[in-house]
């Protein structure tokens, strides 16, 4: 179906595209789920719409309310669009080391941004948002890290779409942030095909982002369910950029940097299948397109230069 009553109705139903040039063999195939085809250009439209609708159903969110959320970007942009169409205010708490495009997009939608310190990454944004929630009890924090509707959107959307389009799926690879995509999609897939491998690609940032004062400031999202996953890779900015460029050069897909990290893990999984002589249908997520990262220089100059420029930035 290509006709929708409004932009909000056009969330999900994204294409799954084969990658014949990147796939290592006819028996080990890679498939890209193009989540940049959502209304605000990222996979986050799915959880955001689900969290808002659930809050409306429960009565937590009523007309004229202000929504508060810690986000490094895409969730905020999705929220800003939905809040605009549904008549809510929006305050985003965002680490100061995210790309200029994200800030500009949020401002264009009329969202208010509260910046949190770069050191400590999104941990600090989460902590700041929790403080603001206490100080402003009438604001509604959807809290993507612990909101069951986040994983639920993938359990009822992303998972069934993948299984329908690729019944032979053997592996699902996605980025690990709130953990909602992996936990929700992975749970659905494994309930229907218990042998499906669910593999996380986690961004490894520059040291600044890990600048916690002590280990007890660490953070594991409440949604995280380790039992759904079968593997987890840590991918640095150099490899993420290398794969982002490779995806563009070889298959023509202009993706954001986190997708490069996901592709890196998907290719590692593919190589293992080839080495074992096993057939595999590996689906991975293209979380967003590259537009929002042009100002970071990710697509220009040498990989070493681009990687150095990204050091200290949150690119996923």
């Amino acid at each position: 179906m290509a006709r929708y009553e409004s932009l909000l109705d056009a969330v999900g139903g994204t294409p799954l595209v084969g990658l014949p040039r990147l796939s290592p063999s006819p028996d080990v195939r890679l498939w890209a789920k193009l989540e940049d085809r959502n209304p605000t250009g990222s996979i986050k439209d799915r959880p955001v719409l689900a969290m808002i609708e659930e809050a409306e159903r429960s009565g937590a969110l009523t007309p004229g309310c202000t929504i508060l959320e810690p986000t490094s970007g895409n969730t905020g942009i999705a929220l800003a669009m939905a809040a605009k169409l549904k008549g809510y205010g929006l305050v985003c708490v965002m680490p100061e080391n995210t790309s200029a495009e994200r800030k500009q997009l949020l401002q264009a939608y009329g969202a208010r941004i509260v910046f949190s310190p770069a050191a400590g990454g999104s941990n600090q944004a989460v902590a700041r948002a929790k403080e603001l929630a206490e100080q402003n009890p009438d604001w509604v924090m959807l809290y993507q890290y612990g909101n069951a509707a986040n994983a639920g959107a993938h359990y009822s959307g992303t998972g069934p779409e993948l299984l329908k389009d690729l019944p032979t799926i053997t592996h699902f690879v996605a980025g690990l942030g709130t953990t909602g995509t992996l936990v929700g999609t992975g749970r659905y897939l494994r309930e229907h095909k218990p042998d499906v491998q669910v593999v996380a690609a986690e961004p490894r940032y520059g040291e600044l982002v890990y600048g916690l004062r002590n280990l007890d400031e660490g953070f594991v999202p409440e949604l995280y369910d380790e039992t759904v996953l079968t593997g987890r890779y840590s991918v640095g900015s150099y490899d993420a950029l290398r794969r982002t460029r490779q995806l563009l050069e070889v298959e023509g897909i202009f993706a954001g940097i986190s997708t490069g990290a996901i592709l890196h893990a998907a290719l590692a999984v593919a190589e293992k299948a080839v080495a074992r002589g096993e057939a595999a249908d590996i689906a991975f997520v293209v979380a967003d397109a590259g537009w929002k990262y042009l100002s970071t220089g990710a697509y220009a100059g040498t990989l070493d230069e681009a990687s150095a420029r990204l050091d200290g930035h949150l690119w996923a």
Binding site: L215, G218, E226, S234, A316
Partner: protein, 90 residues
């Protein structure tokens, strides 16, 4: 069996500020024992009640050890072991 262990900023007080150190062992547990012998105090920061600290992630060649046997995960000569605190994404 020498491996290179990458130490996060927050734990470098135990390594005299060194970003990476060498260690020996054929499992992660043995590597951590060897680290403790040369850089006292590290083990208590990494291991709580017989398993990895909840907010510590350890990767052998970029793969999370929690999916490869945890403390019993195999390491071999030349591997890179990366220790990182758990931080939020999204």
């Amino acid at each position: 069996m020498a491996v290179t262990v990458s130490i996060p900023t927050i734990l470098r007080t135990h390594t005299g500020g060194q970003k990476s150190v060498e260690a020996k062992g054929s499992t992660l547990a043995e590597v951590i024992e060897d680290l403790e012998a040369n850089h006292g105090g590290l083990k208590a920061r990494l291991v709580k009640e017989g398993s990895l600290h909840r907010f510590v992630n350890v990767y052998v060649n970029d793969e999370d050890v929690r999916f490869a046997g945890g403390l019993e995960a195999a390491v071999k000569d030349g591997d890179t072991v990366t220790i990182l605190p758990a931080v939020a994404g999204g």
